[in-house]
């Protein structure tokens, strides 16, 4: 039985520095992450808040910030009482130069057994990272309605 985690790899025609900027700037994230702002100073130990249309959806703390190679933070979904009861999970971005491309590996791990969040993030990350790839390569993010993700209880 493998441990509960979600891993997603994508290759993007960009530079590690531009990808790092896109992963840490609200100006970019609002365009590819369903309107989400990323609020943090990105220093190890600093807090992070994900804010969607004025509502904080997730909070965390920066664990690693090795620009432009590795970024990780804890991730606590806070939109419902049930989600708040789960302990924070962990998000790791690994950026590797790959010829003229960058290989981006996202690992979302440290879920408690039976996590309700795991299904939702497994459906959300492919949309967010696909849109990020489009934005960096073509200048236009994708228009994906949240309802198209097929997350239970989200319409």
């Amino acid at each position: 039985m493998s441990k509960p985690e979600f891993v997603y790899i994508t290759y993007i025609e960009t530079t590690p520095e531009k990808l790092w900027q896109a992963l840490t700037s609200s100006e970019f994230s609002k365009r590819y992450w369903f309107g989400t702002e990323l609020r943090s100073d990105w220093k190890v130990g600093s807090p992070l808040a994900l804010v969607m249309n004025g509502t904080t959806t997730d909070t965390g703390q920066i664990l690693e910030a090795d620009r432009p190679r590795r970024l990780s933070y804890t991730f606590h979904h806070v939109t419902s009482e049930a989600a708040r009861r789960e302990r924070p999970s962990k998000v790791v971005f690994h950026l590797e130069p790959y010829g003229k491309l960058v290989k981006l590996t996202l690992t979302h791990e440290d879920f408690e057994a039976g996590s309700r969040l795991l299904d939702g993030i497994s459906k959300g990350w492919p949309a967010i990272l696909s849109s990020l790839k489009s934005l960096l390569e073509s200048g236009t993010a994708l228009e994906i309605p949240v309802s198209a993700l097929g997350i239970e209880g989200v319409s």
């Binding site: 493998s2 997603y8 790899i9 994508t10 290759y11 993007i12 025609e13 790959y98 010829g99 003229k100 491309l101 459906k123 492919p126 949309a127 696909s130 849109s131 790839k133 489009s134 390569e137 073509s138 236009t140 994708l142 228009e143 994906i144 309605p145 198209a148 993700l149």
Partner: protein, 171 residues
């Protein structure tokens, strides 16, 4: 072969600024696939029972199978068997399914690689390494017209595991 006995071992979803018809065409045409599938050509006779073939850039037969489900432009399921001696005997057939759905103004493409028995992480590492590269490049071709050149070393971990099982892999 009863496809109900197959369970997805690898699932990869990617969203593409395109139409379901164009994604379908990219998945089923040799001309497109050469651009995003490490130079390999997909040749498929699009009817249930039709042949599904992947040829390497030098024209050699690399993967052969047949069409199991064909519902253009929504769903294509094929058997996807690499032509290495003993592979199908030891691992059973591999099933690959592409599901294509409209998602707002984008297209959601889901790839499932399924097997009729549990396989080790070592065996599955080949697909886990390959599919993200193939489908990232497919997305770029459709969105920007430019394929990505993803040079990838052979999936050594998988090859070692296959060799250990007595499956003849290319030297």
């Amino acid at each position: 072969m009863n496809i109900a006995n197959f369970k997805p071992a690898i699932v990869y979803t990617i969203y593409i600024a395109s139409t379901p018809e164009k994604v379908w065409q990219a998945l089923t045409s040799a001309e497109f696939s050469r651009q995003y599938f490490f130079g390999n050509a997909v040749e498929v006779d699009l009817r249930v029972g039709g042949a599904f073939i992947v040829r390497t850039p030098d024209g050699a037969l690399h993967i052969s199978g047949e069409v199991i489900e064909c519902d253009p432009p929504k769903k294509l399921t094929v058997t996807f068997n690499v032509n290495w001696p003993q592979l199908i005997e030891k691992l059973g057939p591999t099933l690959v399914t592409y599901e294509i759905e409209q998602a707002g103004e984008a297209v959601k493409l889901t790839l499932l690689q399924s097997h009729d028995r549990p396989l080790s992480d070592d065996i599955l590492s080949g697909g886990r390494q390959g599919w993200p590269a193939i489908l990232s490049s497919l997305k770029s071709v459709l969105e920007t017209g430019q394929a990505m050149t993803i040079k990838m070393a052979p999936p050594q971990r998988m090859l070692d595991a296959l060799k250990e099982m007595g499956i003849a892999t290319p030297e």
